[in-house]
């Protein structure tokens, strides 16, 4: 992982609109206004979750 990569950088790289995704880093939910500050570290476990169709 590149040094200093933020959550926003990761989402941009994956072609995801930050406002449509909720991120959990090491099972902790990251608030959307923190995505730019959130720097990823080697070994972090990142879950990206979003709304899909459902009943």
């Amino acid at each position: 992982m590149e040094n200093g990569l933020t959550l926003v950088d990761l989402l941009t790289e994956l072609n995801l609109e930050p406002g449509t995704v909720v991120a959990e880093i090491n099972t902790k939910i990251i608030e959307q206004d923190q995505y730019e500050q959130e720097v990823l570290r080697d070994g972090d476990s990142v879950e990206l979750i979003r709304f899909v169709g459902g009943g």
């Binding site: 994956l14 072609n15 995801l16 609109e17 406002g19 449509t20 995704v21 909720v22 959990e24 939910i29 608030e31 959307q32 879950e47 990206l48 979750i49 979003r50 709304f51 899909v52 169709g53 459902g54 009943g55």
Partner: protein, 261 residues
């Protein structure tokens, strides 16, 4: 008007957004249904289809999102999904689903009650999916559920209202709105629930998998409206003996031999 947690809805039809063949078809069906409340689920992002986003397909100024906790097998998993739903949708609304058995998808009453109590304390507007159990409905409203969502029949079965007697008891006792959820397979099932006095119904599969989902959405819209009108108008009593609609006097006909009077 339907009011849940101080929010009013003109439509008494909630629509699920699963199983549609495309986002465009889902959007058109929801518009045709005139629903103002739609359920959505939470899943991991599919990195193969990053563009596949339901948030941009629907206008949230007109339609309230009701995130569900589908996939949760116990209270703990449901509470985690609730937190994710609140972060993703910036909404306290939640359809709480706890279904440990994938074969029946029936809700776990113990963990549903536990999770409802916890999430209400955290400020969620909780609408728990529940079996047709009148005592459980009382317990759920007692811990602060904003509405209760008893099932018609198991999810996706299209079997209609399978436990009418107990659903009637739930409706009669409820101090919170009753939304009949799951298994309503035909507009007539929705009408039946509304005629019984349900406050709303939630329909997904029956609309999404119809030959023409947009027309089916309209059929459900009309069915819900008809059922509610009939309930408010006041249905006639059922009776096992006939009662003539036309005058029985002044008919000049002789008695029939084969009828004993």
């Amino acid at each position: 008007m339907l009011t849940i947690a101080s929010t009013t809805f003109k439509s008494r039809l909630f629509v699920g957004t699963g199983k549609f063949s495309s986002a465009a078809e889902m959007k058109q069906a929801i518009e045709a249904s005139e629903s103002q409340m739609v359920t959505v689920a939470l899943r991991r992002v599919d990195l193969e289809n990053p563009e596949d986003d339901i948030m941009t397909a629907l206008d949230r100024d007109k339609i309230c999102f009701l995130p569900n906790t589908s996939g949760a097998r116990d209270a703990e998993e449901a509470i985690r999904l609730a937190h994710l739903a609140r972060a993703a949708g910036n909404t306290p609304w939640l359809k709480l689903e706890v279904t440990p058995d994938p074969r029946t998808l029936l809700p776990d009453p113990v963990d549903t009650l536990k999770a409802t109590e916890q999430l209400v304390k955290e400020g969620f507007i909780v609408l728990p999916y529940m079996n047709v159990d009148p005592v459980l409905a009382l317990r759920l409203q007692d811990v602060g559920a904003a509405a209760v969502m008893p099932l018609g029949s198991p999810i996706g079965t299209n079997m209609g209202i399978s436990n009418k007697l107990q659903l009637e008891i739930i409706i009669e006792q409820a101090r919170v709105p009753v939304v009949v959820d799951a298994g309503l397979g035909a507009p007539s099932h929705a009408t039946e629930a509304m005629e019984m006095g349900a406050d709303a119904v939630l329909v997904n599969t029956a609309i999404a998998v119809a030959g023409d989902p947009i027309r089916m959405a309209k059929a459900f819209r009309d069915a819900v409206h008809a059922g509610r009108e009939a309930f408010e108008a006041g249905l006639g009593r059922q009776s096992t003996s006939a009662s003539a609609s036309s005058p029985e006097t002044n008919i000049s006909t002789p008695n029939l031999d084969f009828i004993s009077n």
